[in-house]
């Protein structure tokens, strides 16, 4: 009984764990390596190009110089201070934006009246380029942390709001009817039918929101910050240190990719049930 109950799981894994042939094992490691080929190749090329003297590398510093700058910043403790400042801002803004976007999106997805009341206003606000809020936020909330977090929250809010509302509106009526047949109450319907049904779209909305959060933290830190990766960018520009700028950009890329991956990792167990094109790795 237990053996046979495990059957689907073992079947599913059979192609990856059951002693794959050497070529398959190679392929498994080759896939991620394929993604590294282009950036590593370009970096190597530029390093050689500068080393061979075809370019002085002053405006576009070679990788070793960028690495040296990062190490220098890290040694003095500057780097962790800047990273901590930026990550804190993104975390606070992301948290606020996700909370507001989820609640309002869910409410206006579920209740038609609320949607008719709220959605036109939200859509109108969405049409405003978010950077346009900057002067107003500075006037209202001051030049320090509050205005920065608010700007990031605004950037995160819209994709999450839209994602949640759209996902709830597009939940299959047939599945909702199953809930009605089993006489689920309103809250039970939300918890047992609507939430699981919108989860895949919600994860996408979170990832888009996080991406915008990283985008907006730079804008926020351009306006009078004394620390943070955005400050490193501005500082590098004003003092003519391209290596510092590129170093900050690279760190942004690493942080953005890592946090995105964390969301993916945290939600993957909740989405194992999906029967989607992407699960099979897409088209070869």
């Amino acid at each position: 009984m237990t053996m046979s109950a495990e059957l689907p799981v073992t079947l599913e894994r059979a192609d990856t764990t059951a002693a794959p042939p050497p070529s398959a094992r190679l392929l498994r490691y080759a896939r991620p390596a394929l993604g590294l080929l282009l950036p590593v190749g370009l970096a190597l090329f530029w390093e050689l190009w500068v080393a061979l003297g075809y370019s002085n590398g002053r405006l576009v510093p070679p990788p070793t110089k960028i690495f040296a700058t990062v190490m220098e910043l890290a040694k003095s403790g500057e780097l962790s201070r800047h990273i901590a400042a930026t990550v804190t801002r993104v975390a606070a803004g992301f948290g606020l934006g996700v909370a507001a976007g989820t609640i309002l999106g869910a409410v206006s997805g579920y209740w038609g009246v609320v949607r008719q009341l709220l959605d036109p206003t939200v859509q109108a606000l969405r049409a405003i380029p978010s950077i346009a809020w900057v002067p107003l936020f500075i006037l209202w909330l001051g030049i320090f942390e509050t205005s920065k977090v608010a700007l990031i929250a605004v950037g995160v809010f819209f994709p999450v709001y839209l994602g949640v509302m759209g996902a709830i509106l597009s939940v299959d009526r047939k599945i909702v009817e199953v809930g009605r047949i089993f006489r689920l109450s309103g809250p039970a319907m939300i918890r047992r039918i609507l939430l699981p049904a919108v989860l895949p779209a919600y994860v996408v909305a979170l990832r888009v929101g996080l991406g915008l959060g990283w985008m907006f933290v730079v804008a926020a830190e351009f306006m009078g910050a004394s620390e943070g990766l955005g400050y490193l960018l501005i500082d590098g520009q004003q003092l003519g240190k391209p290596a510092q700028i590129v170093a900050a950009i690279v760190i942004f890329a690493i942080l953005g990719k890592t946090t995105d991956w964390l969301i993916e990792l945290a939600t993957a167990p909740l989405l194992r049930w999906q029967d989607a094109f992407g699960r099979q790795g897409g088209a070869a």
Partner: protein, 261 residues
């Protein structure tokens, strides 16, 4: 006793889907509703299920008027409608959330064994074949032990072989607790195999045309001459129901039973 009294339905867009449909269905009876497209079969079933309210008339189960889904009325749809994020076992236990977990597990395990899918308990719905998924849907509808089970063309999306298999299986399951079955179908063979009574409907607006009692003992032999006779009878009735020159039958003269008004 399930009583339908002059049930009618006009949709907001003006479509007159069902008109004054009346019938009494005894506990444990199997009734097949058959008819051309647009004859209001599904409308009727959704009214009995409490999913849509009838515009006129009433549906009552043991003297309780049905206006919303009822604990004693289950339904199986044309598609399995399993929740893709729940395992097969959790799908079957979906309607049992009021019960303590161990009782629920026990009932689910029994139901799974009963529909022959004990080895699929932990599988996701996407890993099932069409026939298996519909078995799970049947188990999910039966496990809360409804008094009335509605089936809306439950096997029409399956291949002929699987369909026969599931028809026999449904009868087998029905024999356990003998709920009332009301089956909407457009498959004459299916109606005659399963039903005690076949209600033939005619379209525009949907209304009852003829009730045919199938006096055959179960299990029924699909190839016996008697079976063929009943099939022919239903087919003839269906043809006549679509012929505009044939007037609506006077309800009192059909079948001579008090199930009519």
């Amino acid at each position: 006793m399930l009583a339908l009294e002059k049930v009618g339905k006009t949709y907001p867009n003006g479509v007159h889907a069902l008109e004054r449909f009346s019938a009494e269905i005894k506990p444990g009876e199997i009734v097949a509703i058959i008819g051309g497209s647009g004859c209001g079969k599904s409308t009727l079933l959704r009214a009995i299920a409490g999913l849509d309210r009838a515009s006129t008339g009433t549906v009552t189960l043991d003297n309780a008027v049905i206006t919303a889904p009822h604990a004693k009325i289950g339904i199986i749809f044309q598609e399995p409608r399993l929740l893709p994020w729940l395992s097969v076992a959790d799908n079957i236990g979906f309607g049992l959330s009021d019960l303590p977990a161990d009782v629920r597990r026990e009932k689910v395990a029994q139901a799974l064994a009963r529909v022959g899918l004990a080895d699929k308990a932990k599988a996701w719905p996407r890993e099932l074949s069409g026939g298996q998924a519909q078995r799970v849907a049947i188990a999910r509808a039966l496990v809360p032990q409804p008094e009335v089970l509605l089936l809306d063309e439950p096997f029409s999306a399956l291949d002929a072989f699987t369909r026969r298999d599931l028809q026999d299986h449904l009868l087998d399951l029905w024999n356990d607790t003998r709920p009332t079955l009301i089956l909407v179908t457009h498959d004459v063979d299916e109606a005659v195999v399963l039903a005690d009574r076949v209600l033939v409907m005619r379209p525009r607006p949907g209304r009852l045309f003829e009730a045919i009692r199938i006096n055959l003992t179960r299990p029924r032999d699909r190839s016996s001459p008697l079976f063929e006779n009943f099939k022919r009878h239903v087919l003839t009735s269906l043809d006549r129901s679509l012929d505009r020159n044939v007037p609506d039958a006077d309800p009192k003269t059909v079948a001579g039973e008090a199930m009519w008004w």
